[in-house]
């Protein structure tokens, strides 16, 4: 069969069997996968180099990973980089299960390939879910947001945001006129979603007034209410863009931050009640740093997430073929190896994204 065809071919081109070997010693499919990965690596390399250029051109105003990415799902508090570390570890593990699937394929061990490939797909799905959570966290932003202080400087705000207990109605509008007692998360209007959302919305649209001790806001129907809120703890500000009074703070030197004894609380609420606050991130504004910072976040991690999605689809197709015995009949599991190359590449890219976007 195969012998026959190759002999005929060799005779046709007039050279011996031994000279028919490929100079790279790999099958066409594998070689093409490498060439594709090479070009894809150039694309990601281009992104990361562009990130480097932009970052260098902003100097100290560029946000720091451990200040921006410190949240965990279901748990309140600050855990810098913990979630990204988990995601990195997860992707490395799914790379390991993939290489074990390839190894099982080299032994024609169908059961082994099935098991490890399934583990890889599950790992990929968990990673994608984690990325979705991180995006939503990044877009939603923190409870404090970023404020512009009275001297024109821009500062990100850290600490523990005091919980909002309820809104005490002072002058009821059309919707809240029928409500007895204070507005809580149970009886709040769907338009206002919840207390925190209503508070942030009021602050961003200049409908919040007063001081840190006595805050008042206007809700969607014109209701004027007093905000009953716990005191914020350890509220401090890190100045990212200098103003007339406040110079830029650095992460390493806490004395360059604005602490409570420097009047951080009053400064913060002064900015907040004047509407000079930005919450979360989108393509027009973000609270973490220069606009292009969040654009890079969306673009780099988004493009990587797109690759993960494609990798999962490829793995599922290969998995179905493993179950159907396609590769068993073909006599080799090279397709698992080719899919594996792509999957490892996705892991490889994340290793670099992790360093250059989050760590440095």
């Amino acid at each position: 069969m195969a012998e026959h065809t190759s002999n005929e071919l060799s005779a046709l081109v007039g050279m011996g069997e031994e000279r028919r070997q490929s100079p790279v010693g790999a099958s066409y499919g594998k070689l093409m996968m490498w060439i594709f990965l090479f070009s894809d690596a150039l694309t990601f390399g281009g992104f990361l180099v562009a990130l480097g250029l932009t970052r260098y051109s902003y100097g100290g105003a560029w946000p720091i990973g451990e200040e921006t990415f410190e949240g965990l799902p279901f748990i309140a508090g600050s855990y810098p980089l913990a979630f990204v570390a988990f995601m990195t570890f997860l992707l490395i593990l799914s790379s390991v299960t993939m290489v074990l699937a390839v190894e099982a394929g080299h032994r024609m061990d169908k059961k082994g390939v099935t098991k490890w490939l399934l583990a890889t797909i599950i790992g990929g799905l968990i990673f994608l879910g984690s990325q979705a959570w991180e995006w939503s966290h990044f877009i939603h932003g923190t409870n404090f947001g970023r404020v512009e202080l009275s001297d024109g400087s821009q500062a990100i705000v850290k600490g523990k945001f005091g919980e909002i207990n309820n809104f005490e109605v002072l002058r009821a509008g059309s919707y809240y006129a029928g409500i007895e007692g204070a507005i809580t998360n149970e009886n709040i209007a769907p338009e206002d979603k919840n207390l925190m959302h209503a508070f942030r919305h009021a602050a961003a649209s200049r409908k919040l007034s007063g001081t840190s001790e006595a805050l008042q806001l206007v809700l969607h129907d014109g209701t004027v209410a007093k905000v009953n809120k716990e005191k914020d703890e350890n509220l401090h500000m890190i100045v990212k863009v200098p103003g007339a009074v406040h110079p830029v703070s650095t992460a390493a030197h806490k004395d360059t931050w604005i602490h409570e004894e420097d009047g951080s609380v009053d400064l913060y609420y002064e900015g907040l009640t004047n509407g000079r606050v930005t919450y979360g991130a989108n393509m027009q504004e973000n609270e973490y740093g220069p606009q292009i910072y969040s654009n890079f976040f969306f673009f780099v991690t988004g493009f990587h997430g797109f690759h993960v999605t494609l990798g999962i689809i490829v793995n599922i197709v290969v998995f179905v073929n493993v179950l159907k015995g396609t590769y068993e009949r073909r006599g080799h599991y090279e397709m698992v190896e080719k899919g594996g190359l792509y999957w490892h590449f996705v892991d490889l890219v994340w290793v670099f994204v992790f360093t250059f976007f989050y760590l440095i």
Binding site: M1, L9, V49, S57, G60, V96, V102, A251, E334, V351
Partner: protein, 124 residues
């Protein structure tokens, strides 16, 4: 039903191995896993404890880049089997990429540093 395609069968069968060889290869895979996990853990711990703009930061930054390249090398050489490939394929892909990307980094990061004084007070 085996398909009569000599182009596929020829090379893909070279990579087949026995149960004993598989054992050795799996051991190697788990060793690399351990190395990658330790390197990642070290990176995260350093990232948390050494603050940016501190005196140590430049050293740590260079260390991060070295560790990243080490991790990448393990992934490419072991997980992607680049170490076992024919040297023409290996060099053709890796050397070309490394030379090109070093050139890009040299060019672009230098440009970025030159832009810095002009863009510092850029509005957000």
């Amino acid at each position: 039903m085996a398909e009569e395609r000599d182009d596929i069968i020829e090379y893909s069968l070279y990579t087949h191995h026995s149960e004993e060889e598989g054992k050795k290869k799996r051991k190697k895979i788990w060793q690399v896993t351990l190395i990658l996990s330790i390197v990642t853990a070290v990176e995260v711990i350093l990232g948390i404890f050494v603050k940016q703009h501190s005196d140590l930061w430049l050293t740590i930054k260079i260390l991060f880049i070295i560790l990243t390249v080490v991790k990448a090398a393990y992934i490419v050489m072991t997980f992607m089997h680049m170490g076992d490939e024919h040297k023409i394929l290996r060099r053709g892909i890796l050397w070309v990429y490394i030379i090109f990307i070093l050139y890009m980094i040299f060019l672009i990061v230098g440009e970025g540093a030159a832009l810095y004084p002009r863009m510092y007070n850029f509005p957000w």
